[in-house]
């Protein structure tokens, strides 16, 4: 009798077939203590990732240590509670932030190529864990292409479309936003990157490209940086971004953050 035809008596043997939580131990008809607590732990991590305060100061000092200038801004959502309920406010800068950015606007004859935004989005943990690593890898690619950067903007209580306004004020050819994705139970620190050619207020999700699931055990920052470079080169070549800019094997799932 081959090993394969040996009868299976226990679902624990088929747990490996799916990441879903199957074959949980039962007590009566209920979930046993250990399996219940394992779920609670995953949920707790996801909740913490949403509500962990955004440490923009540390990110600024990490950039400073790399001789990269940065500017901290805030969306019109005054706090996390407002941010979660009012996505429209997370897509606009507050007034002081607009004033802070204006002096950095590039003149039309010497425009920035890239306006890079680092934003908390729905998982601050994702940014704390992955943003600087991505920047480090991406800088090397960027240097080889000779792209001109605006100062990096670190944005608190930010949604994806905030990069439209930032890119518009800075007068950049393209905006890139690194942003925390909505935490799932299996991954609380997943970062997304959205790229928009000719950023300005009113751009739609169809005009963006996205690289998602960036984390150490998802798409690594190293690989994501390489994908980003390819996307940007294509966007400049075609003079557009979004659904008409398609790169082979690239993750194209746009989730509204």
């Amino acid at each position: 009798m081959s090993q394969k035809s040996k009868p299976l008596y226990d679902l624990s043997q088929i747990k490996k077939l799916t990441p879903a939580r199957i074959g949980l131990a039962r007590v009566g008809s209920s979930i046993s203590t250990h399996d219940m607590l394992a779920f609670d732990l995953d949920h707790a991590q996801a909740r913490d990732a949403v509500h962990l305060p955004f440490d923009s100061a540390t990110i600024a000092s990490q950039l400073n240590a790399r001789q990269i200038q940065s500017i901290c801004v805030h969306s019109a959502a005054v706090d996390r509670t407002t941010f979660l309920q009012r996505p429209d406010l997370g897509r606009q800068l507050d007034d002081p932030s607009k004033q802070r950015l204006k002096p950095y606007q590039s003149p039309d004859n010497e425009r920035y190529d890239l306006a890079m935004v680092i934003a908390d989005g729905l998982s601050t943990l994702a940014i704390h864990n992955n943003a600087i690593a991505l920047i480090d890898y991406f800088q090397k690619h960027s240097a080889s292409c000779g792209w001109r950067w605006a100062p990096i903007v670190i944005a608190s209580q930010a949604r994806v479309a905030l990069a439209d306004e930032i890119g518009e004020i800075l007068n950049s050819r393209l905006s890139i936003i690194l942003i925390g994705e909505r935490p799932g139970l299996s991954a609380a620190d997943s970062m997304g990157i959205y790229l928009t050619h000719a950023p300005r207020i009113g751009r739609t999700d169809a005009q963006r490209n996205c690289i998602s699931n960036i984390r150490q055990i998802g798409l690594s920052p190293e690989k994501a940086a390489r994908q980003l470079k390819v996307l940007i080169s294509e966007a400049f070549k075609l003079g557009l971004s979004g659904v008409n800019l398609k790169i082979k094997k690239q993750s194209q799932q746009v989730i509204t953050i």
């Binding site: 679902l11 990441p19 879903a20 939580r21 039962r26």
Partner: protein
Amino acid sequence: MAKASPMKSGDALAGVAAATEEERIAAKFALADLPLTIFLNEALIPYEDDTVTRLIMDNHNKAAFAPISSMTVGDLRNWLLAYETGTEQLRSVAAGIIPEMAAAVSKLMRNQDLILVAAKVETISRFRSTIGLKGQLSTRLQPNHPTDDPKGIAAAILDGLLNGVGDAVIGINPAADDVVAAERLLQLLDDMRQRYEIPVQSCILTHITNTMVIMERKGPVDIVFQSIAGTEGANNSFGITMDLLQEAWEAALSLQRGTVGNNVMYFETGQGSALSANAHHGVDQQTLEARAYAVACRYEPLLVNTVVGFIGPEYLYDGKQIIRAGLEDHFCGKLLGLPMGCDVCYTNHAEADQNDMDNLLTLLGTAGVNFIMGVPGSDDVMLNYQSTSFHDASYLRQVLGLSCAPEFERWLLKMGLCDDQGRLLPKNRTAPMLAYLQEMDQ
């Protein structure tokens, strides 16, 4: 109307919510004194502008409306709660109530009122199993997989069946949006069902146009799925029209695959979808949700599922709002005569957790909800949100003395998966079914 709505973040986002608690109650007083006929004479969304309004007005049954035609909204609440208003009265008046009336009266009702009235209603639907009998709680088995892996899905289905789940439908949300992938999964479901003679129906929750193609190709389509909403604009954003729904319904009816009945449609809805599609006409999200039920009614569905907390905190902020919305949706759907179920669920950025879901689950069980979801360990690894687990359904059946569909209960007994008290038996009885997975392996 909007200002009389219990607080929802989505109504604040739309700019239609009451500014203060006092204003909200003042709006309720005003609403209570409005005659029901006003909703027939003054459409919230104009008749000329919207197919859903036309559907509602054109299908209004004046004879059914007659017994309540002289009532105000406040009177209607009193009538619904009266001892004398029972299952039969509610059944006969259903076609006379339009969604705006149901929504209006719900705004005057406390949670316990929504439960009490819904519990009087019985809405039964049938395909291979009978769903919605009093004293019954059914479940949709939701065995999703992030890459649609057939073995992963089969494993989750087996686990669900071993936990007594799946009598409403075995329904997969595919990760891939294409006909070929959907058809492959449908074939898998049909094979398993026939192999073990399971008295259930299967469904792939893909866009209705995909399912129509599969029907043309003679694929084993039991139930046609579609998301629907309460305005023409929102339905257009889902890529559907009434004509398309009609065409799909007729195609599915003609297949005659049901054994105990021929309710062939499965609709999903959820408060906030119209605003999300920027097609809300300044109307509050709960009223728009009730309007989606008028769309559902036309196609005599097997299942209508309000996916209550999936949309996120910008529409339903916390456990309190999700619980309220779930009870409102269930009540309105039942009042209009629909076989209502609820995906009791939340996302990780909502202020909610599994305890809030336990609360809503228990309340809906008391209200007589037709079905809930059964997701492995509550964690949908494809859609990335949390719903109810296989075990949650068993909990509710235990505590409220509910059973599953009679056909499915007999099958569970026959397969040795539960005893005659409805208790699940130890898993070592399950070897015959696991053979299926082994064959897939070979």
